[in-house]
């Protein structure tokens, strides 16, 4: 079990334990982060800030998850020499974060085993670091041709398959490079970041309410997932306390989104992954019914507007009855459809032993959500660091052992049942009161987190003296789960890759802010 922040600080000789943050010299940062991760506090966020205005240069922050909150270790790097010994050498989960920090701020992780570009593609001139404060968001950049190599395997009979970024189906852009021998995958790497929107840069200087519209659009299919984490971060900074009703409503919206998204994936995995069209037809039909209900309840099919700063969208008594009636139908149909799926030998044959993610890999990469839970990693922020009304309505953490596509499918199926239970429990005893309170003013920084349907969203927001956003860090669980392809792909055959891909169900847009 992980320890509390105070215990962790005491055990590892870290200063200022109660505040949840400790300043360290850059030389010991990696070693301390490693100590904490080994002590059972996984690394959840690694980000940089440009604090040259306050004469602190660039600051690297590493957040680990303790039993009672997030503990931050930070290290200020001089602006003229922003280097520090890489954390990735000791903690695998840091590898994409460090590459991203370099692209964004020019902070150099020395000794990183694979320090290629991540967010920037070939066309971005060297030395461009857009999240530095002296980089204007509307700067017109020349088109460069910088090297941006991908992994390559050589040998007899080995060949490369490049796929994307434009695909035959209507999906988001991503480039995948397979090195295969026959049909067997030897190595697999993705090149993403084709959908850059500049969210983190654009929200700087905006009021938290204005930034909400950007956060809602980070990943179109995970609106509540992102807005809830962001809203809680802003509320923590400003000292705004939502009502008990708002907290219960937030559980309702979060679980409705989870149910809808899981239903989609449970239709998509067999439907488009294995060609079992019955599941796609039924799954997407149920999803459509829920989306229509969302539109009726909050005025948006993907639940934009369900979470607001200081509260949540309210539901009337009639609406509650309608939710329960719709969910009763969904539950009945889902049971029937799942029964057909689980008893279909052909389908289970495709699912089982495909795309196995080992528990060790899941932990090393900091995997999140159903992908982690299907590989025995019992991580779920709703239960570990309860927020909203999750302390009252505690979910059971659903885990499976096999780590294959079948396990990820089962985790989703069981989580749907758990979401249905939570929604009914919330509606049964919905507290009276205002659904939203006005946002207080304030300054400072704080984390906000939410176990969204894809996994943990962890945000960090810093507001300046005027209450405007100084820096907003958003992590979609997809950012942590994309590199898992390198682990689960090899050993499988090429025609099974789309199924592995669908079983992880990742967002391109959420990864590329």
């Amino acid at each position: 079990m992980s320890k509390t922040i105070v215990e962790l600080c005491r055990d590892h000789g870290l200063p200022s334990g109660e505040s949840g943050s400790a300043s360290l010299s850059r030389d010991v940062l990696a070693a301390r982060v490693y100590d904490l991760v080994e002590a059972g506090a996984p690394l959840v966020l690694l980000y940089a800030t440009d604090e040259r205005a306050a004469a602190r240069g660039f600051v690297v922050h590493a957040a680990v998850q303790a039993a009672d909150g997030l503990l931050t270790l930070e290290s200020a790097l001089p602006a003229e020499d922003p280097r520090y010994p890489s954390i990735t050498r000791l903690v695998m989960a840091a590898h994409w974060f460090e590459r991203l920090m370099h692209d964004q701020f020019g902070v150099i992780a020395e000794g990183h085993p694979d320090f290629r570009r991540l967010m920037h593609h070939e066309n971005m001139p060297a030395g461009t670091h857009p999240l530095r404060k002296d980089f204007a968001w509307n700067t017109k950049l020349p088109v460069a041709d910088e090297p941006s190599p991908m992994h390559r395997v050589e040998g007899k009979g080995v060949y490369e398959i490049p796929v994307g970024p434009i695909h035959a189906g209507i999906i988001e852009p991503g480039h995948f490079r397979f090195n295969v021998r026959g049909e067997r995958i030897l190595s697999l790497e993705g090149k993403l970041f084709f959908t850059h929107k500049g969210v983190e840069k654009l929200v700087e200087g905006k009021m938290p309410e204005e930034a909400m519209r950007f956060v809602e659009r980070v990943s179109g299919d995970m609106v509540v997932g992102h807005t809830l984490a962001y809203a809680q971060a802003v509320e923590r900074v400003t000292g705004t306390i939502p009502s008990a009703r708002a907290k219960a409503l937030r559980v309702l919206w979060n679980e409705l989104e989870r149910l809808t998204a899981h239903l989609f994936d449970m239709g998509n995995m067999p439907g488009n992954g294995t060609g079992f069209s019955f599941m796609a037809a039924q799954g997407f039909r149920m999803v459509e019914e829920l989306r229509r209900m969302h539109a009726m309840l909050v005025g948006h099919r993907f639940l934009r507007g369900a979470i607001v700063l200081g509260g949540a969208h309210d539901v009337s008594t009639e609406s509650q009855e309608q939710i329960l009636a719709t969910l009763a139908e969904t539950e009945r149909d889902l049971k029937e459809v799942l029964n057909i799926a689980f008893t279909n030998d052909g389908l289970m044959d495709r699912f089982e032993t495909t795309g196995v993610l080992s528990e060790a890999a899941a932990r090393a990469y900091g995997a999140r959500g159903p992908a982690a839970r299907a590989s025995r990693v019992a991580t779920d922020l709703r239960a570990e660091l309860p927020y909203a009304a999750y302390a009252t309505h505690a979910p059971e953490i659903v885990t499976e052992k096999a780590g294959d596509v079948a396990a990820r499918f089962r985790v989703r199926a069981r989580e749907c049942a758990e979401s249905l239970r939570l929604i009914r429990a919330v509606l049964e005893e919905l507290p009276e009161g205002a659904p939203a309170v006005p946002l207080e003013g304030g300054t400072g920084s704080a984390y906000g987190w939410n176990e969204a349907w894809r996994g943990a969203v962890v945000d960090w927001v810093a507001l300046d003296a005027k209450g405007r956003i100084e820096r907003l860090v958003i992590t979609d669980p997809s950012f942590m789960n994309w590199p898992l392809f390198g682990e689960i792909g090899p050993g499988n055959i090429v025609p099974d890759f789309p199924l592995c891909n669908k079983s992880l169900s990742l967002s391109y847009s959420g990864t590329d802010l």
Binding site: I161, G169, G275, F276, S277, F278, A281, Q282, R285, P495
Partner: protein, 317 residues
């Protein structure tokens, strides 16, 4: 007035060639209905072909004459296949040429050229699809030949016309039970030869899982229309062969009355409709198999075909 060989040839060829897109359209409609969708009209494939014919054709820069040659070869071999396979009737002139080995060779020739077209572009997907297709053809061939040989043995004739005539002479007699394994193996081979479930998914948009679709990925416009039409025609040809053996009713014969031709064409349409229903249902109820399970599928097809052959011999002696 009696049915002449030429009338029969023209009528049945026209029927099969006109009906081919309709078979595909019916399969699509059946699948849509299984998914609770209304689905497109069954004549949609005709419009799709017409619009492809009007479209501009893009030929990959680094492709050779092989790429441009392939659609003609594939279309030509499939048309010959469709003409020689008995559909509405038997006894017409090309029946003399419809030797079982010719049919197997025509089917394979089409596959080989399709694979060449896929490889000629130099694109990874084309090569991947060609690789897979050749693996499947090599696996399917033994089962196909044993099935055809067993049918020939039953009928005492190596001609498809003779085979169909044998079954039509006394449909569903008791000894037909002996032919059941062979017919089942024939169905498995027909599914594989036409890139249907559980071997290939003709409706997929996932490049990495494609076999047939990967080979035609670079084709566009009229070439693509030719290939799409050839694949519909191939399905129809195999469908009429399968149905004429399983349901050998209403088959016209050269030399009988002209009115029999109408009966033959009408029953062909009914048979193809049933065949499309069968394919559509199978594709809605089955899951596509893992590619590495294909050898098991074909081993099964081979064993069933072999069992059918043994039964046929045992029955005779």
């Amino acid at each position: 007035m009696n049915l002449s060989s030429l009338t029969m040839l023209l009528a049945e060829s026209a029927a099969v060639m006109l009906a081919a897109p309709l078979v595909v359209g019916t399969v699509h409609l059946v699948k849509a209905r299984f998914q609770n969708r209304r689905g497109a009209s069954i004549v949609q494939p005709y419009w799709a072909l017409a619009s492809l014919l009007r479209k501009e054709m893009t030929v990959p820069e680094h492709s050779s004459w092989v790429f441009r040659f392939v659609p003609y070869v594939v279309l030509a071999t499939t048309i010959v296949l469709a003409v020689v396979v008995p559909s509405a009737g038997i006894g017409a002139w090309p029946a003399a040429a419809s030797n079982i080995f010719l049919v197997a060779a025509l089917a394979t020739l089409g596959s080989v050229f399709l694979a060449l077209g896929g490889m000629d572009t130099g694109s990874t997907f084309g090569n991947m699809g060609a690789n897979r297709e050749m693996t499947l053809v090599a696996l399917a061939e033994p089962a196909l030949l044993i099935v055809l040989a067993t049918l020939a043995f039953f009928a005492g004739s190596a001609n498809l016309d003779g085979i169909v005539a044998f079954f039509a002479a006394a449909p569903w007699r008791a000894s037909m039970l002996m032919a059941l394994p062979t017919l089942l193996a024939l169905l498995l081979v027909v599914l594989a030869e036409n890139a249907r479930y559980p071997v290939d998914n003709p409706a997929t948009h996932l490049e990495l899982t494609m076999v047939h679709e990967a080979m035609v990925l670079e084709y566009s416009g009229p070439y693509l229309a030719a290939l799409e039409y050839a694949s519909a025609l191939r399905l129809t040809a195999f469908g009429s062969l399968f149905m004429n053996i399983v349901f050998p009713f209403g088959i016209a014969t050269v030399g009988t009355g002209v009115e029999m031709l109408a009966v033959g064409v009408l029953s062909l349409v009914l048979k193809l409709g049933f065949f499309a229903l069968l394919i559509g249902s199978l594709e809605s109820l089955l899951v596509k198999m893992r590619f590495y399970r294909m050898q098991e599928y074909f081993t099964l097809a081979f064993l069933i075909a072999f069992a059918g052959a043994v039964l046929a011999f045992a029955h005779t002696f």
